[in-house]
Amino acid sequence: MAVTYSLPRMDGMRTDRLKLAASLTRPMLALVAAFALTTLALLSTGVSPLEAYRLVLFGAFSTPVRLSDMIMLAAPLLLCAVGLSITFAGGLYNLGVEGQMIAGAIAAMVPLRLWPDWPPLLLWLLAGLSGAAGGALWALLIGALRQYANVSEIFAGLGMNFLASGLALYMVLGPWRRQTSASLSGTDLLPRDLWLPTIDRLRLAPAAPLIALLALAVVWWALTKTRWGLEVRAVGLNPAAAGRLGVAAARRMAETLAACGALAGIAGMLQVVAVHHALIPNISSGIGLLGLLVALLARADPRWLLPIAVAFASFTVGSIQLPLTLGIDSAIAGVLQGALVLFALVARARVR
């Protein structure tokens, strides 16, 4: 993150008032700018923006099914964003989160396929542990590339994403291919009793959002209330200075990556046992990248993660109806999400 300097000024009173005004008006301006850009895009297609906004903003809350879909998207999204707020606090851009999610999903499949007869509760636990370990391992590889081979975590992460999606493709088309014939649509479905239990007639598995909320609470506590969190934040601000103060900077960075990878891995495991009930090539579905946007907007402040994750998940779920009802592409949700984060970044720029 950019370093901000504040110079001492003579007209302290006036700048204070200006700053207060700025702190209130700037987020509003950012919001207006983001909606202005999105509205322009909508207008160019000739549909009524109001109608489109009604679906994008509130569509996810219109029926119980859509609401449950939104929660099932918000859960892995929140897990990724929570994990990323750890790496952001440590000053790392973990673009590899997508691959960590895939690695977690693949690792979670291993116990499920090896011992499908074991009691489901034990298997879910094993799948969760294995998914977390898979994601953490994938993230640690990025840490190793950064630490020992001087490859920036951004490109190491992108490389590991490509590798993970290749591995997922290989598993789906190779060792775990369908019994009838190999298909890009995924592996055979898991046995019914291994699906995470859902609420009647909905696709909502309550365990998923509960796990995500638990992760949020633990990470909030660890980042703000523990010495470890303080050290991580110090490393994020200035690794060299933190090192001189006796913080094992490289170690802390590796730990943040592993923690983020583990949470992303659990998100991948949830995609397997609670959403797709199989391994599919696109198991991460861009949730990791969306998580990066959520974490950037929340600015590593864990309190904002939940509302932003829920809002972004509802934009995505709400926009799914757009092609059918209005005949426009659902990518407008992504435009709105991206624009919100982009203008929020400007709103944080220092006053000159």
Binding site: Y93, L169, L173, I328, G338, L345
Partner: protein, 328 residues
Amino acid sequence: MDQLWIDLAAVLAAASPLVIAAMGETLSERAGVINLSLDGTMLLAAMTGFAVALTTGNLLLGFAAAALVGAAVATVLGLFSLTLGQSQTAVGFVLALLCTDLSSFLGAPFVRVPGPAVPFTPIPVLADLPVLGTLFFRHDPVIYASFLIIPATAYLLYGTRLGLIVRALGERPAAVYARGVDVTRWRYALLIAGGALVGIAGAAFSLDLKQGWSYRHTFGAGWIVLAIVIFGGWRPWRVALGCYLFAALEIVATRSQSALPNFPTQIIQVAPFVLMIFVLALVNLASSPAAMRRAATLPQIWQRPLLGAINRLRATAPAALGQPFERP
């Protein structure tokens, strides 16, 4: 034997958008600005270029529109990072996702619509040369441009006074500032020029190499270019070589799909990027101080070629890459 030359010519052609985008990114990174929005910029420019060329029926207008889109996205990146002091990485990443979704949304009416394409234009006389003709002179103008832009970028960076300024902007901005150069203004100029090239590269996909428009049309090419620029050590000829190696690997991967019917060869397509990252890691490992110390214990005869090879392969980033510049 003839088939080999034809295959090599196909590699040169397939790499053309990568080369153009990579030269643009090299320019802006040498000036100290990372344009991480590359993938989104290329998609948005590819879509715009195709849409404009289709509706106006004028290919040049399509390329101009694509260049304009690339320059505009770069301007936004500059405004937010160079002027407003936000992280180049954060702004670039958000722009990448935003432009990707904008291209999907705005480009929906143009998906799989047949449209204009750059015509095949062999160069008269030269095309009939034995090997050289096949390799270099039986292409279209975009591919010729991709050949010319490599020496042009190299000459600009290493042969002109402007290039000296550009390299200094990336290495020691404070020093150029002391010589009376407006660092921010020059960084803007290089970023925008590089962005325009990236935009043209996008149109090189939609109007030439992979004609038409579809969802995520360029298939992650922008991320690949970003990695190639690092792989190439920010030096134009090496970056270009990286693009050609990448294109060659891709073609081999596609060919092997029919040769290995039982092996799920879709996997091979992710190999080039992964390979590149690991080669980069190996080179960096080999040039680390620890490895150098070990090399120093080797017999003298081995040392010189080994160290020479490592020095040739190592890639050092511009020292001020991605750093904000504060006026002293």
